[in-house]
Symmetry: C2
């Protein structure tokens, strides 16, 4: 069993903990954008090294141009996973792709964390096939960062859309994995975990949420987190909670709703300020403050969905990410790589799962029964 | 059967179509706020009349102060439904409450639409008991307005939280009711209806969504709407769609997430502009434009969740609504009252339900099977 201490203790400086595996291809902006983001990241992190996956002949001149050839090893891969490829197609025909190669490098422990801007479904399918689910995990999840009123500026929400279903046991696993991610990714010693529902009263919500409410409450000590109970959609950006647990359907809708609302307001704000000369002049005077605000809620700064529940960690960067977005995803990956996160989260979930098994398998049996379809 | 024409044709001017039934009690701000909102509404709508429910001795001086005594009839009711009362308690002990009295007035056709700021669960339970579900409706829904890029400034989303479950048949009913509401409440002759999902591809989403996708597509002609297919969370404020159909769990989370995001950004914007004297001066110059923006996204302007699927229409105003918010809910109620909306939506759903029955009851049997629990 992993004790709470080992989860926050610094790990020994394995060489691989300084190495990231990066898929150069598959993003909407092409490999030049990935390399530009890589260059920005490497100039901030002097000890970091990268394995870059894609067509060598195309990538070599880009690295030379940014003068980062000495810190980047290219793994030549001729094929690319397209945004429109279905997961099943990717699994059958993907062995020569840069995405496959990027995952192989973490599988073989040459690098600690893999990063790709490619197709989410394909990346998750390939990651599950090659890296396998960690012990005690039934459904892996995607964790995203949500701008919040907390000191770190962010909350963690999972599942953001890896699987449209989650039963009570999955939700418990998400709580454990999310708490470990908040500890290692956001540096919060004892994260506060909340379960997303339509009200905060105990009698509200779906049947599996009421059971998960009990399970997560009981796991707070093993998981070294504080359970704050049910929370509502309005609490997603709040400072009441650090980790928000929900199923991938609800999480995906909430994430896209939040992004859509933020985009609408930004557009309306820009439109309002450009409406007349007086407000344009006003905006000019306030531009320093408005710029800082824009940076605070910039979706590129929260770029990086982390796949949790596999034996290694994979980060999905937005397909449309620009160099700033790619660099943000790489910084997040490096932070997790250095903390030895993959091993810690696996140990945490495995220990909780084995304890739950010792305590009797009632809830797990329920879980299997509710897995049928709906 | 109701033809599409009758759904948009003006109804004959029954006296009751000019009368609203308003619960003066149960809001967080007390009856003085409701009466202030009522006064603002009545000065805009010269032909409107109101039946106001609550303790006569308390309300009479308020009406006199606003000089609206001649246009408001008080129905004396001594009890109040509290925000903390559970629906079961309200049903057992609520007969002398102002909320009960407000619903009775529409049940007896003295008024066309009822409005209350009280407890949502209690209001829905009482409305279902007294007004009964309309023919063809299994689960009533709450429709809310969402600020959008559309010319009207709003989209309709339902269910915003009346019921945490919805099967394929419920989702079809929501599409029919939502389209009728958009036609009568937002004046959109042929509303575009979308079904909320985690992606727009046909293979995505839960099983019941794939069936609902078929059902709603087939009902577009009867319902006199255009079906645009699956939409995502980011499309909620878009101009691709007028009516968004989803289950009450997802809808409630999305609604509160959108509100929470908008509130966070407003706070951050205010904070940014007050940060230094230069930006404060800038904000002063831009205040006209910023004020218009604030008004455009003001949640008080979209105040009013409409209960659909009952034999009469009930509007839930925010419990914390101020006079502006109450007036907004009353304006919406009056618009629906004048259009004869309650009868139109009931006729529309009943005709679709009977057509679906003629076409065979396969999907309805599926609906019953999926009603078990989860």
């Amino acid at each position: 069993m992993t004790t709470p201490q080992t989860d926050t203790a610094p790990t020994q400086g394995h060489a691989a903990n300084k190495v990231l595996s990066v898929d150069a291809m598959g993003g909407d902006q092409g490999p030049a954008t990935v390399v530009a983001g890589l260059s920005a990241f490497l100039s901030d992190e002097r000890e970091a090294r990268v394995i870059l996956h894609g067509p060598k002949a195309e990538l070599e001149p880009m690295l030379a141009k940014h003068r980062i050839s000495d810190r980047v090893t290219i793994h030549d891969a001729s094929d690319v996973v397209k945004m429109t490829d279905k997961p099943s197609h990717v699994l059958r025909n993907g062995k020569k792709t840069s995405m496959w190669s990027a995952i192989e490098a973490v599988r073989e422990r040459q690098a600690a964390v893999a990063v790709s801007c490619g197709n989410t479904g394909g990346l998750m399918a390939m990651s599950m096939l090659r890296l396998r689910k960690a012990e005690g995990v039934n459904r892996p999840a995607i964790a995203c960062l949500w701008p919040s009123r907390n000191p770190s500026g962010f909350n963690v929400m999972l599942d953001a859309g890896a699987d449209i279903r989650a039963d009570q046991d999955d939700l418990l696993t998400y709580a454990l994995m999310g708490a470990s991610y908040a500890r290692n990714g956001l540096d919060i010693a004892q994260p506060r975990v909340g379960l997303l529902n339509v009200g905060t009263e105990e009698h509200k919500g779906r049947a599996e949420l009421k059971v998960a409410h009990e399970l997560i409450g009981n796991a707070a000590i093993i998981g070294d987190f504080e359970y704050v109970g049910f929370i509502e959609g309005g609490d997603l950006p709040s400072d009441k909670v650090d980790v928000i647990v929900t199923d991938g359907f609800t999480g995906n809708v909430a994430l896209k709703t939040g992004e859509g609302t933020a985009t609408l307001i930004s557009e309306l704000l820009r439109g309002a300020l450009l409406k007349n000369p007086l407000s344009m002049f006003g905006a000019l005077l306030a531009r320093g403050s408005l710029g800082r605000l824009r940076k605070r809620i910039d979706p590129r700064r929260v770029n990086g969905g982390v796949f949790l529940g596999l034996n290694q960690t994979v980060i999905k960067s937005h397909g449309s990410a620009d160099a700033t977005g790619v660099a943000a995803a790489l910084h997040l990956a490096y932070r997790l790589a250095q903390s030895g996160f993959s091993d810690k989260v696996a140990a945490r979930v495995a220990s909780a799962a084995s304890l739950a098994q010792d305590a009797g398998t009632e809830s797990e049996t329920d879980g299997l029964n509710t897995n049928t379809g709906k």
